[in-house]
Symmetry: C2
Subunit: 199 residues, 2 copies
Amino acid sequence: MSHYPSSILKLIESLSKFPGIGEKTAERLAMHVLRASNKEMAQLIISVKEVKEKIKLCSSCFALSDTSICKICSDQARTASVLCVVEQPADMVAIEKSGSFYGRYHILQGVLSPMNGVGPENIRIKELIDRITDEDIKEVVLATSTNVEGEATAAYLAERLKNYNLKVSRIASGVPMGGDLKYVDQVTLKKAMDTRHAL
Amino acid sequence: MSHYPSSILKLIESLSKFPGIGEKTAERLAMHVLRASNKEMAQLIISVKEVKEKIKLCSSCFALSDTSICKICSDQARTASVLCVVEQPADMVAIEKSGSFYGRYHILQGVLSPMNGVGPENIRIKELIDRITDEDIKEVVLATSTNVEGEATAAYLAERLKNYNLKVSRIASGVPMGGDLKYVDQVTLKKAMDTRHAL
């Protein structure tokens, strides 16, 4: 690498810090920066600056927002009494894209992970309880991931919420739609079998 | 995607223009921009600006350089009479890393590709001929890629250079070192067999 001029090396180093970007990919991206028009790169710089300056967390649900209350929380057409609890903003966007949920969200901004020193006080659980107390919440859908930490977080929340007068549900696990049974892992198949439903 | 605030959408769009970066990856990179420290992103912005402002092509070999003559061309310790012809700056960096070449380079800045309308006049062939005439070049090593276009470019150059008083060589093709024969493609194996050498 050291055979590039120093400004290119610095760019490669900056780009290597992005998740999933190794040194080779960073080199390829740096070559694109060189080839790209000045206009395109100026646009990129403006976008990075804007994102760093304007984006805050919604003070109610902790989604990414350029206003103090996000679009979804301020949308009167959505069902205010149903909260979907997710780990991160990208999860919320994924559910929104599926068009399957019409309530509001609560973004934990993390997941319980004792190994990494993340306890209940480090994610937005207190704020969730506050919302349940303050707002008239009738159902909480736990939509954390189905990995170990996501499952543990869902189990913890289910336990914490059981004394409140509301329905607590968990998104279904099973064989992905369009999936080929023979490629589905054993844990998922077992889950799909155990939670089978009558037709 | 439209469920993100507009500044994030713009950033995702800018990032999607990079080669090999799809919408999903761009989304993940944009999330990193949000998470990263302001200092880290300021450093990235400075690097992009510096690269766009400072990096020019070496006026002799057309490598990327922050000076009008690049480090290699101005290095008196290198053998000035041997030129290695490569397609792009990254190829030069790869050869430098291998530590196998002590001459200078000539970067074509492309490869012959009639399908894409790239002819001999569109890459730095004239400049190569000029260097051969002006400088005291004794050998030209053709190190273009071994794909169809790279091979064609090497063949074209070998033909163009045969009336000059110099040695024209081509990097060897064959089974990669450390390679497992059974995974090597047929064309490479045939080439390795055809160009076998006595021990």
